[in-house]
Symmetry: C2
């Protein structure tokens, strides 16, 4: 999700360049790419021009191009742009939800219901992201049963799959374990590296059977609404780990690193990924 | 080992300040602190004044103050300075050993034998660090049986314990597992974060029963002979993880963060630890 969660807090990048990044990720072998978000360009200037990004893609039939949408209007724009699936997000933290999207959790669940209803005739899958699933800067820890209850509600109103997000980097291996005990392994995880724990949390989840992870090439990102948030789990850091574990991903580390180099140019600052900087372990420098 | 491996590649810091850092780490509850190294000040200027550091400490009887020594001469200086234990290092990589200390592995093993013999009458424990234990930038991967063979030799010549070091950040959870299968869990691990894997490797080792880890407050460090080497596993990042796992360490995260703030002042640049920058999870910032 580099083109979306990765770039949303950066200085705006032209739609054409963002499309080139999505294409590079598709070339790397990623099968699902969150390419755009149909949010208000006033609220998130870096995400303006989502339809242009979608139109500029060299689409591969094997890749699913996803869009984040906040409401029914966004879903309609996404349908017009011919996306392959939607992601929606609701926070497990009432205060975070209120400050982020100015809605109560109930109102956000209703918005998801409207979105799911709108795209059902087109059989477009909707993945619901539960943010602050490992704790909130406002309420502190949120009990896994409570997080699960929100996930269940989102499935009841039409979400086909769930992703649990560590929005401000409060997850730890123990808390990943505790949540997975309740929600099971058939979920996605969206991890941030605010406290340097993104990779260890992914590893703890892998050990418990999770196979779906949100990542961003270069490890860029962070919420435009959460200044303290660190970047996303870096795609290359996870692929580097999985390759070494012998897990088949179909993703080329070499090409992810090429996409990450593209990201570094686009954002014009060093990216957080350590593998991007140091190179893979088989290219260790003697110094 | 912040005062030693942490500071050795930095601009030299006065002995008095280094002693204050050691004292701060002792106050934080760390029970073994590698405080100094008795190496040639020409080779490693930042480590000059080891005897002065030792003399300036406010020693706590519950803390063991260790010194790295390269040879018999260093061991004698360490004895004079009244250290509680020694660490010695030999590389599993012949080329790395040659370039680092200008000795063959056999010559380095002989040096360890001489050191152990010299300090035996004083019953001073010697911990032998096998560097490049998870791969070398020169030879690539080094088989765990070969790494173990070197460890066994070092024990035969008098090392009382072994530590395996990921000198250039080539370890992964799989390789930690593979080495521990051969050497067992009763070893120390010395991890570097060159590829952002220090914490995940520590976690993988913890799961397999390892309880001894080398860390540096702030995550500073890197070999003066290996320019590509990233910092050490950050003490606060590991303590933050262990606290959340409910592992008793006797170490105060709060006081490690205070020591880390001291380190940041001493090196006059931001430290790599993410917990040092973002704060513990229970102080998550809403942004």
């Amino acid at each position: 999700m580099g083109p979306r969660d990765g770039l949303q807090a950066e200085e705006p990048v032209a739609a054409k360049e963002r499309a080139a990044l999505v294409d590079a990720l598709a070339e790397a072998g990623l099968q699902e790419i969150e390419a755009v978000s149909f949010v208000s360009p006033r609220a998130v200037p870096a995400m303006a021009g989502a339809a242009e990004v979608m139109a500029a893609l060299r689409r591969k039939p094997t890749v699913r191009y996803l869009a984040l949408v906040p409401n029914r209007k966004g879903a309609e724009l996404a349908l017009d742009a011919d996306v392959d699936g939607l992601t929606v997000t609701v926070s497990a933290s009432p205060v975070y939800n209120e400050r982020n999207v100015h809605m109560t959790i109930d109102q956000s669940v209703s918005a998801v219901a409207e979105i799911a209803e709108r795209v059902a005739p087109r059989a477009l899958p909707v993945d619901a992201v539960v943010s602050c699933a490992f704790g909130s800067p406002y309420e502190g820890d949120i009990a896994p049963v409570e997080v699960n209850r929100l996930g269940e509600r989102l499935k009841e109103v039409g979400a086909m799959s769930l992703t649990f997000a560590d929005t401000t980097g409060m997850a730890t291996p123990r808390r990943v374990h505790d949540l997975l005990e309740v929600v099971g392994p058939d979920v996605g995880l969206h991890l941030h590296d605010t406290r340097g724990t993104a990779l260890v949390n992914a590893y703890a989840a892998l050990e418990r059977g999770v196979t779906r992870f949100d990542t961003a090439a270069g490890g860029i990102g962070g919420s435009p609404f959460a200044a303290g948030a660190g970047g996303n789990l870096a795609t290359e850091d996870l692929v580097h780990l999985l390759d070494d574990l012998g897990v088949q991903t179909g993703v080329s580390l070499e090409r992810v690193l090429a996409a990450s180099a593209l990201v570094t140019e686009m954002v014009a600052h060093p990216v957080p990924s350590r593998v991007a900087v140091a190179g893979p372990r088989d290219r260790s420098e003697p110094g």
